[in-house]
């Protein structure tokens, strides 16, 4: 799973020069996340409880791996903050993670990036995330309550000619279905208010926007390109984000390169 994301990032970095810096950074970040995830899986003496405050002592020791990676390859602002966090105390970094856990926001880069492998590990162990006082609904992850990072279309059965829509959680990276022709953010269903923008350069990626609430997310059509890895292809299609921003749309959840 992590390997396919990393190799896709390498492949797309060579394919899309404009987004190369973003993809190289994201590939490195994915490698750090993979290492954290593998270290969690290898621990035989411990299973997560789902309450971050309780699990924090076991997790915190893995944070430097991510901070070092960001410090080495991130943009100046992120690198500086990573350096500072490396030198800060356990209390501050713990609070940073708990703040995100309890009140997540896409701008909390370090907490989001660090907790993604933890949340994915929670799913595999069967532990339920607790102590998360966040909004629930059809547009939120049924497992952890995270916002959708992106959507993707995939034929669930081989004989379908069109794909059903699933949303990918920004935190635990799990997917859940949400019907098409409805705004992911506000639930708008009038076709005239729902816009789908695409460009030939990104044949399998489109912007799913809503003129009622002004929000959008990107959709990856796996019925068009089965080799795509939604999380990475979404980053590679960065020009679409800038275009959407110019049109006045706001993204539901920023990705880990801040677009």
């Amino acid at each position: 799973m992590w390997e396919s994301r990393i190799s896709r990032a390498e492949q797309l970095a060579a394919q899309f020069p404009a987004a190369q810096e973003l993809l190289v950074f994201y590939g490195g970040l994915l490698s750090a996340q993979q290492e954290i995830y593998e270290r969690l899986r290898r621990r035989e003496d411990w299973l997560p409880s789902g309450a971050l405050e309780i699990d924090l002592p076991a997790l915190r020791v893995m944070l430097p791996r991510l901070l070092i990676a960001v410090n080495a390859s991130g943009p100046e602002a992120l690198a500086t903050e990573a350096q500072r966090l490396l030198q800060s105390g356990a209390r501050e970094t713990g609070q940073l993670l708990l703040d995100y856990w309890r009140a997540p926001g896409a701008e909390q880069f370090f907490a989001k990036a660090f907790l993604q492998p933890y949340a994915q590990w929670l799913i595999e162990t069967g532990a339920r995330p607790v102590d998360r006082n966040i909004e629930r609904g059809a547009n939120r992850c049924p497992y952890c309550g995270g916002k959708p990072q992106l959507s993707f279309l995939l034929s669930a059965e081989g004989d379908e000619e069109s794909g059903g829509r699933s949303l990918l959680c920004c935190l635990c990276l799990s997917a859940w279905p949400l019907r098409r022709v409805v705004c992911v953010n506000c639930g708008e269903e009038r076709p005239a208010q729902l816009a789908y923008f695409s460009a030939p350069e990104y044949d399998h990626v489109r912007i799913e926007a809503c003129d009622s609430c002004g929000h959008y997310l990107k959709g990856i059509d796996l019925t068009r390109l089965g080799l795509a890895v939604p999380l990475v292809d979404e980053v590679a299609a960065a020009p679409l984000d800038l275009w959407a921003r110019e049109q006045g749309y706001a993204k539901i959840e920023l990705n880990l390169v801040g677009l």
Partner: protein, 193 residues
């Protein structure tokens, strides 16, 4: 300072196109953005008109909502969220787009005369006049005012009408009203959507 530094990345998007919220230089990305040929489509849920199964479809329409452009259907696919067909379509339903754009689609009336082996074009006026004349002749010749027990029935047994599955509710309403007024009993329609 702690809080502001922890959340220092709360960069507003108003910063524009040269940096991402996390400080990445997006100038090269923005340069590519300017070259993109973006098109806007909308998706509209509908029901396949061809048979009584009533499969759900999604119609993709190209158009930027500008008043001086006509929206254009570019794709029709099965609705994966529809409980009847779950995204599948039969070959006929899958070709729905062709009902609008196929160049072999008939756009004017045609007639095949008795004994003829070919269809010939006919104007709408001539077609309507001919149909009206034949309806009148047939009704006059076959109209049954009373049945063999003397009861008044006022029926026309020489004409039957069958409707197509793409007929609209409004059209079918008018068909029933006009056929019943003629006394036509043999009235059928495939539309069960």
């Amino acid at each position: 300072m702690d809080v502001s530094r922890r959340t220092f990345i709360k960069t507003t998007l108003a910063g524009g196109v040269t940096a991402s919220a996390f400080g990445f230089d997006t100038a090269p990305v923005y340069a590519q953005t300017q070259a993109l040929k973006i098109s806007r489509t909308s998706e509209t849920r509908s029901t396949c008109p061809y048979c009584s199964v009533s499969c759900g479809v999604i119609i993709h329409t190209l158009g930027d909502k500008a008043k001086n452009t006509t929206p254009q259907v570019v794709h029709v696919e099965g609705d994966p969220d529809h409980p009847i067909n779950r995204g599948t379509l039969c070959p006929k339903g899958a070709s729905l787009e062709q009902e609008i754009y196929n160049e072999r689609r008939l756009t004017k009336p045609q007639v095949r005369r008795p004994g003829s082996d070919r269809w010939e074009d006919i104007s709408w006026d001539d077609a309507i006049n001919e149909i009206a004349r034949k309806v009148k002749e047939t009704r006059d010749a076959t109209f049954v005012e009373k049945d063999n027990r003397g009861r008044t029935v006022n029926r026309c047994e020489g004409i039957a009408f069958t409707g197509g599955c793409t007929d609209t509710n409004e059209f079918n309403y008018l068909v029933v009203k006009s056929m019943r007024s003629l006394g036509v009993c043999y009235l059928e329609n495939q539309a069960r959507v």
